[in-house]
C-alpha cells in the first residue's frame, strides 16, 4: 500500500498536526519508503498466531476502591498555559 498527499493530509488531520503543503509533499515519499519497508512482514506466515498481549507473563492487578488521590488543584493547574478561576481555558468550543 502506498499513500498519496491527500491521504497524508487526512492522517495529519487525524493526528492534529498542522502540516504545510511542502511538508506534506516531503512526507509522502518518506512515509511510503517506511511503509514499503515494514510491509515485508507480509512474508511471515502468521496463520493461527495470536497477537502478543503481554510482553512478560503478568496479571493485571486491581486497586482497592479507596480515595487516596485528587484534591491537588494547584498541582493540576500549575503548568497550564491558561488557567482561569480553577479551570483550564481553551478557545471557545461550539457544540
Amino acid at each position: 500500500m502506498s499513500v498519496n498527499a491527500d491521504q497524508v493530509r487526512h492522517v495529519a488531520r487525524l493526528a492534529r498536526l498542522a502540516l504545510g503543503n511542502d511538508e506534506i509533499d516531503r512526507m509522502v515519499p518518506e512515509l511510503n519508503n517506511i511503509l514499503g519497508w515494514v510491509e515485508q512482514l507480509g512474508e511471515v506466515d502468521t496463520d493461527g498466531v495470536e497477537p502478543l498481549t503481554a510482553v512478560i507473563e503478568n496479571h493485571l492487578r486491581l486497586r482497592d476502591d479507596v480515595v487516596n488521590d485528587g484534591n491537588v488543584r494547584d498541582d493540576i493547574l500549575e503548568n497550564a498555559p491558561d488557567a482561569q478561576h480553577g479551570f483550564f481555558a481553551v478557545p471557545k468550543v461550539i457544540e
Binding site: L60, L62, R63, D65, G70, F87
Partner: protein
C-alpha cells in the same frame, strides 16, 4: 384506552411504518474512587478538585484499574443473565477533545467484560402475559470525560476534569425495541435492576445514566433502515420524545424522497427537536488498539463467586415472590418498582406483618401519606417495624381501623411508636361488655321511638345504634362486640 400491547405504527402517506430502536446506556458505576485513579467521584465538587495527576494525563502517568468498578460491572452483567468474559481487555479509543485529557478514552471494544444478556419488560404493567425480552449485546467498562463550560467567558470554554476518569458501564442493547413505550419500559427496568444491584444510583438528573438512542424506520416487516444516533439523552421522557420525533422525521424525509443520513444527533429538550451533531463523513476514526499500559483483565472463580453471591433478589424475582404471598399483581409490581420501596416493604414483612394486609396498607395509606407530604420512602419517618406494630394492633383487635388511621397520622407527625401513642392517648379498643352494655342501655333508653320502629321491622336502624354506641365509646369499642351486644339487647 389504547391497548399497550398493540404495535406502534407511524402512519405515513405511503402506509404504516415500524420503528426500530436500540439504546446504548452509559451508567456511572457506584464507586468511591475513579476507574483508574484514586480521585473521588462525588457529585458537585469545586472544579478540578477531584482530579489526580493520572486524570489530568500528566506526562508519565499510568492507569491502575479499580477492582470495585470491575466487580460492579460483573454483578450487573450477572443480574442481566449475561455472559461474563473471564478474559477481557482495555482498548484506547483515540480522539482529540478538550474534555479528554489523554487524547484517548480507555474503553473496551474488542474484548468487553460482559457479553450477551437480556432484560425482561412488561408491555402492560398490569398484564403478566405482556412480557418481552430485550437483548443486551454487551456491557463494557470505560472512562467518563471531563466537562466543558461554555457560558463563563465570551471567547473561551472552561474545562473541569472532575468527571474525567469516572467509571462508566456502557450497556448496549440489541435493536429489539419497537416503540417509545418499550424503550421507556426498558430504561425503567434497567434502572431498577442497576439500583437493586447497587452498581449505579440511576440518578439521571446528575448524569449517572444517559442514553444514546439509535432509531431507524422501516415498512412493516421490511429491510432495516439507516439509523441515526441521538447522544446523551438524560431522562426516560426525553428518550421517548426523541424516538417519537426522530421516527416521524425519518418517515417524512423518506416519503418526500429523501434519504436518512447515518449521523450523530443532539436532542434539544426546550424545542423538542433533534439536530445534526456530525455526519458520517467527518466521523472520527478512533484507531482503537489495546492499551499497552494495561494487561488483559483475567477474573478468577473466587472473584466471580463473590459477585454472584453478593447479588440481591432482583425485581422480577421479588415481584413473583410477593405475588406468591397473595399480594395482587398490581401491588407486587408497585412495591418492587423502586428498590427502596421494595426494601422497606420487605422489612415490613420480616417484622411479621401479614402480606396482604401489609401490601394494601402500604399502597393505600403509606404511599398516600408520602405523596401528600412530598417525601420519599427513604425519608419516611416510620420504620417498617413500627408499621408492622401498627398493623398488628389492628389485626389483634387492640385498635380499630378508624383509630389506626388516627394513630398513623400521629406517628407521621411525632415519629412515636404506635403502642406508645395508643397507650398515652387511651386509644385502646375496648371489648369490656360492661362498659359497652352501659352505653347501649343509655342509647336505647334515649331513643325509645327508634327501638320501637326497629322492632317493628325497620332493620336499617341497626346501623344507627352501632354508630351511636361507637360515638359514645369515642371509637374505641370493639365493633364486633358492639354488634353482638346490640343484637342481644334488641332481641
Amino acid at each position: 384506552m389504547a391497548d399497550a400491547t398493540a404495535p406502534y405504527r407511524i402512519k405515513g402517506e405511503t402506509g404504516d411504518w415500524e420503528v426500530v430502536i436500540g439504546l446504548e446506556v452509559h451508567a456511572q458505576v457506584t464507586s468511591n474512587a475513579k476507574l483508574f485513579s484514586g480521585a473521588a467521584t462525588a457529585f458537585g465538587a469545586e472544579p478540578n478538585t477531584q482530579v489526580s495527576l493520572v486524570d489530568a494525563a500528566m506526562p508519565g502517568m499510568l492507569p491502575v484499574p479499580n477492582r470495585e468498578c470491575i466487580r460492579q460491572a460483573v454483578r450487573t452483567g450477572m443480574a442481566l443473565d449475561a455472559v461474563i468474559n473471564r478474559w477481557s481487555r482495555f482498548d484506547r479509543k483515540n480522539y482529540f477533545y478538550a474534555d479528554l485529557p489523554q487524547g484517548y478514552q480507555i474503553s473496551q471494544l474488542y474484548h468487553p467484560l460482559v457479553g450477551p444478556g437480556e432484560v425482561e419488560i412488561l408491555l402492560d404493567e398490569k398484564d403478566e402475559n405482556s412480557v418481552k425480552q430485550i437483548g443486551i449485546e454487551r456491557i463494557h467498562v470505560e472512562q467518563d470525560a471531563g466537562k466543558l463550560m461554555h457560558d463563563q467567558h465570551p471567547t473561551m470554554s472552561y474545562v473541569d476534569l472532575n468527571r474525567s476518569g469516572v467509571a462508566l458501564m456502557e450497556i448496549v442493547s440489541r435493536p429489539d425495541m419497537r416503540s417509545p413505550a418499550e424503550a421507556g419500559a426498558y430504561l425503567r427496568k434497567l434502572r431498577a435492576i442497576l439500583r437493586y444491584v447497587g452498581s449505579c444510583d440511576g440518578n439521571m438528573e446528575e448524569g449517572s445514566m444517559r442514553a444514546d438512542v439509535n432509531v431507524s424506520v422501516r415498512k412493516v416487516g421490511g429491510e432495516l433502515g439507516t439509523r441515526t444516533e441521538t447522544k446523551n439523552v438524560n431522562s426516560v421522557r426525553f428518550v421517548m420524545a426523541v424516538i417519537e420525533h426522530e421516527a416521524r422525521r425519518q418517515v417524512e424525509l423518506i416519503e418526500e424522497g429523501g434519504e436518512v443520513a447515518q449521523e450523530t444527533r443532539l436532542y434539544d429538550p426546550d424545542k423538542n427537536v433533534t439536530r445534526t451533531l456530525r455526519s458520517k463523513e467527518d466521523a472520527h476514526d478512533y484507531r482503537y488498539f489495546p492499551d499497552p499500559d494495561l494487561l488483559p483483565l483475567e477474573l478468577d472463580e473466587a472473584f466471580l463467586e463473590e459477585c454472584r453471591s453478593s447479588l440481591p433478589e432482583l425485581p422480577d424475582a421479588k415481584r413473583k415472590r410477593f405475588e406468591g404471598l397473595g399480594i395482587s399483581a398490581y401491588g407486587a409490581s408497585v412495591l418492587t418498582a423502586e428498590v427502596e420501596t421494595a426494601r422497606w416493604f420487605d422489612g415490613l414483612l420480616s417484622a411479621g406483618a401479614e402480606p396482604k394486609q401489609a401490601a394494601n396498607w402500604t399502597v393505600a395509606e403509606l404511599f398516600g401519606a408520602l405523596n401528600r407530604t412530598g417525601k420519599s420512602i427513604d425519608e419516611c419517618p416510620i420504620s417498617p417495624e413500627e408499621a408492622a406494630e401498627l398493623l398488628k394492633l389492628v389485626a389483634d383487635g387492640t385498635i380499630s381501623g378508624t383509630i389506626a388511621k388516627q394513630v398513623f397520622e400521629i406517628m407521621l407527625e411525632t415519629g412515636d411508636a404506635p403502642s406508645k401513642i395508643v397507650e398515652e392517648r387511651g386509644l385502646k379498643q375496648t371489648s369490656d361488655t360492661g362498659a359497652i352494655d352501659a352505653e347501649i342501655d343509655k342509647i336505647l333508653a334515649a331513643n325509645a321511638d327508634k327501638v320501637e320502629q326497629y322492632k317493628a321491622g325497620k332493620e336499617a336502624l341497626f346501623g344507627f345504634f352501632v354508630g351511636q354506641t361507637m360515638k359514645a365509646m369515642a371509637g374505641k369499642a370493639n365493633p364486633g362486640v358492639v354488634n353482638e351486644r346490640l343484637r342481644a339487647k334488641l332481641g
